[in-house]
Symmetry: C2
Subunit: 149 residues, 2 copies
DNA sequence: CTAATTTTAATTGTGCACAATTAAATAGTA
DNA sequence: TACTATTTAATTGTGCACAATTAAAATTAG
């Protein structure tokens, strides 16, 4: 590719990533409206539906988010009675985040979301798996490069 | 795939998108530090280096952003003397965004960024083109679905 | 030509996202 | 033991991102 072409928006892989992520997140909005949560809050619930409780640090490792993002978001979710936050007895530094009864019940309401979202995507399973694989490789590569800077 | 598996973070294509986008954006940070701009501001400059001036609406169409995001960002960039904003004479509703001399000069400093970034990615040209093509298809699909909601 | 409609940005309010700093608890060490 | 270093969250400050509303200008319809 010519040097000038590399400066064109059209040819930038990261712009495609950036734009697609935001448009896909918008598709979640109506599906999450019923639960009254945002997409990042949905990710927190997905993590907790797998394992609850998790410390803020563990949650951050799974979602690639730090306490500066998580702490205020978790406080909002606590106010909505989806989760509870409490200090660990064994290690008072750790704040554990656990599902409430309401947070657990939300899982049933959310069970249809993955399929409803996939209905919006005109891609077959192989394409999606392929895309996910490529993205995960890119993600791990970026994390490697990023961590020693 | 089993219904339960679809609820796992690990299996969600949109989570891969979300995490990868943010990690890639972090890789830009040190490259853009010299220009003293953020990644979204870099996207504005890329658009203007192709065509200047552009109206706020045209810029929004290229970047998939609305005036609620652009207006304050453009004001910050104007304060840094990278761009200028002025009303169109022909249509007073339109605000035109044009490069300043400093904004034009920044293009030379930024010319190395695409290659520097690609150095951080362990993917060949074909893989990248393939990924971009898939993402663009997903993007257009999402925009179609999203617009009538 | 006037009134209703549409287009265009700006504004308001909420919620991430993240770098940098702070503070408390724990672990490691001389 | 006391002293240092590390780990963990919270806090602070800045900058997107977007829905909803507002206001001005231009277009369209009657």
């Amino acid at each position: 590719m010519m040097a000038e072409d590399k400066m064109k928006l059209e040819n930038q892989i990261c712009f495609s990533l950036y734009a697609t992520t935001r448009e896909m997140t918008k598709l979640y909005r109506p599906l999450l409206a019923d639960l009254n949560i945002t997409y990042p809050q949905y990710l927190v619930l997905l993590a907790l539906w797998e394992t609850s409780p998790l410390s803020v640090k563990e949650l951050g490792e799974r979602l690639y988010l730090d306490s500066g993002t998580l702490t205020p978001m978790l406080k909002r979710m606590e106010k909505e009675n989806l989760i509870e936050r409490y200090r660990s007895k064994e290690d008072e530094r750790r704040v554990l985040v656990g599902l409430t009864e309401e947070g657990r019940k939300a899982e049933e309401k959310a069970a249809c979301i993955p399929d409803l979202l996939l209905d919006n995507i005109d891609m077959n399973e192989e394409e999606i798996l392929n895309l996910k694989h490529t993205l995960n490789r890119m993600l791990e590569g970026a994390r490697q490069k990023g961590e020693h800077q």
